[in-house]
């Protein structure tokens, strides 16, 4: 390990420690913001883990998020909390495998379409089940978890996700992803099992997203399908990862923090025009910064000659 690596690790750990102490020096509102930021940083990083290198745009973020949240709502009174999280993660994993196995062998557009409708499908199925079988639409979550407990869990999950993304970037599977991103024919001829690599990444990303939903669920107290399967969550995650740059380790984080604060401000000041402004902002990002701010900054830094990797 070089001196520079050591300094990097030290800085990362110090930042993490400072963030972990946030409940000590922040009021309830500030902590609420930090929970939101930690949640979206994790969502955007997990999204980019799969969608960045493979360029398979997943629109299913809220499907997994909702699965996590709803599992907690259903099971919180019957199982101990850690076990509830485990069950949520497993359900997320199974759904991801079903979606992945049926679409990842095909052209990317099938995957996008499938994920596009997935949240709506699961929402309708859960609603149908609740109305027809259990007869209760909407559930209360009574868990003895304070804001700071939720915050610490999200912070740990976020740090783990970034660590995972960093590790993948340096590992064999990271190289496999870059090869696949460049040329799938060459990838296959190098011996890479393309479908398996994609499936593994998609499953990992989906499990993390499911856990974010599960951990955040107790914040709501009252949960119903329309709340936890709100498509805006998919949309926000996507726009954050894109703004920062889905192909850079810190890209999703750099996109998530400013955009989350902007969204908070927008929803407080323009509650009715919120989604119009978001849509326009999103279109602007697609046009002006298609590869994200990090890649854009790198390009400016290096000058026009060295174009950043796609």
């Amino acid at each position: 390990m070089t001196a520079r690596d050591l300094a990097g690790w030290a800085a990362a750990l110090a930042t993490l420690a400072a963030l972990a102490l946030a409940p000590v020096y922040l009021d309830a509102y500030g902590l609420g913001l930090m929970i939101g930021i930690a949640g979206y940083v994790t969502l955007a990083t997990a999204w980019a883990l799969f969608s960045g290198p493979t360029r398979y745009v997943s629109l299913a973020t809220v499907a997994f998020f909702g699965i996590g949240a709803y599992t907690v709502a259903v099971l919180s009174e019957t199982l101990p909390y850690p076990l509830v999280l485990l069950v949520a993660a497993l359900i997320g994993l199974v759904v991801a495998l079903v979606v992945g196995l049926s679409t990842l062998r095909l052209a990317g557009v099938y995957f996008v379409i499938f994920t596009f409708g997935l949240a709506e499908l699961i929402r309708q199925l859960v609603t149908w089940y609740e109305v027809n079988v259990t007869g209760t639409l909407g559930r209360y979550i009574f868990l003895d978890l304070g804001s700071e407990d939720i915050y610490w869990q999200l912070l740990a999950l976020g740090a783990t996700t970034i660590l995972l993304a960093w590790w993948i970037g340096r590992s064999r599977i990271g190289l496999a992803l870059r090869v696949i991103g460049d040329d799938e024919v060459v990838a296959a001829h190098c011996g890479i099992d393309i479908a398996r690599v994609k499936l593994a990444l998609f499953a990992a990303s989906a499990v993390i997203i499911t856990l974010v939903g599960a951990i955040q669920a107790p914040r709501w107290t009252y949960v119903e399908p329309a709340i936890v399967f709100n498509p805006t969550i998919s949309f926000l995650t996507l726009i954050m990862a894109l703004l920062g740059g889905a192909n850079r380790l810190w890209g999703p984080l750099l996109g998530a923090v400013p955009l989350f604060l902007l969204f908070e401000w927008l929803s407080a000041n323009f509650p009715n025009h919120y989604s119009i402004i978001l849509g326009l902002l999103f279109i602007a990002i697609v046009f002006v910064l298609p590869k994200g701010i990090v890649a854009f900054a790198e390009k400016q830094w290096k000058g026009k000659s060295a174009e950043a990797a796609p």
């Binding site: 596009f116 409708g117 709506e120 199925l125 894109l242 978001l278 326009l280």
Partner: protein, 290 residues
């Protein structure tokens, strides 16, 4: 009950076939994957509603307003949003991603606008809601009218696409943009036209749907999904395939709603989609176009 289900299914399927034809024009010919397609449909439904309940203009006349408006909307969206993306795309895949992202943003803009104007409630209006007896069963006249309109517009367009020089040029762009430009077809113009025509069909479908169904500002996603599934089931770019697949989907949905549970129609739709992906990703009617 069976005859009712078949008739209702055919009516619904007719509308699906009509809108799916629009989407297959946009994706198969203009090569734009438009996730805001369903929101174009819903916008037209609201337009028909506003014209009817606000100004007393009946939906058939409303169609004459909505279809050109849909065309103009598609034309503008293509020229302003899609054309720059087409120009910068390195290959088909990057255009696909860019168009998915851009239209995903557009979806939220349209949906948000509809929320602001019409609110989040389910909306419907009563027009020609009188029973007509066919084959011993009663069906609402508005459904029959919607079906007749779908057959008229869809059938007319199908004939135009397959029997005229104009239609051949358009389809040629769908088969191979590069080769089409070699024989003197202005690919950009054809793509813009196909996209606008797709929007016009979405608008026609939206007006038809509004005559017999309730809708909300958030219905767009489901309409896009259904149209996409019909397009894939029929084979991308295959107009006749889209027509047949639309009818099949309408029948399946109605049967599930009649004999199982109306809450499970989307699940049934998805099950079909899954089966198609696993079994015949190039569509029920062959012609792999990718």
């Amino acid at each position: 009950m069976l005859v009712t289900a078949i008739l209702t299914g055919l009516v619904l399927g007719g509308t699906y076939a009509l809108v799916a034809m629009g989407l297959t024009l946009q994706y198969g010919i203009a090569r734009i994957m438009n996730l805001a397609f369903g929101d174009t449909i819903v916008t037209a439904s609201f337009l028909a509603f506003a014209l009817y309940s606000g100004a007393g203009i009946n939906p058939v006349v409303g169609l004459a307003i909505a279809v050109p408006a849909g065309f103009a909307f598609g034309y503008v969206v293509y020229s302003l949003m899609m054309r720059p993306l087409v120009a910068r795309a390195k290959d088909k895949a990057s255009l696909e991603i860019d168009s998915i992202l851009a239209t995903f943003g557009l979806l939220f803009v349209i949906q948000g606008t509809l929320f602001v104007i019409f609110g989040a409630n389910y909306t419907s209006y009563t027009y020609l809601n009188v029973p007509v007896t066919i084959l011993g069963t009663n069906i609402a006249a508005n459904r029959l009218l919607a079906f007749a309109l779908a057959v008229l517009i869809g059938g007319g367009l199908y004939l135009a696409l397959t029997r005229t020089r104009w239609g051949t040029a358009l389809r040629a762009v769908g088969v191979s943009p590069a080769a089409a430009s070699l024989v003197g077809i202005d690919v950009n113009r054809q793509a813009r036209f196909a996209f606008a025509l797709g929007s016009a069909l979405a608008a026609a479908g939206g007006v038809a749907i509004s005559m017999y169904q309730t809708f909300t500002a958030a219905s767009g996603v489901v309409f896009t999904m259904k149209a996409l599934i019909v397009v894939i089931m029929g084979g991308v770019g295959n107009v006749l395939g889209a027509l047949s697949a639309g009818l099949i989907l309408g029948l399946v949905e109605t049967f599930v709603a009649t004999y199982l549970d109306p809450g499970l129609t989307l699940a049934a739709t998805y099950l079909i989609f899954l089966a198609i992906l696993l079994w015949r990703p190039s569509g029920l009617f062959g012609r792999a176009s990718r």
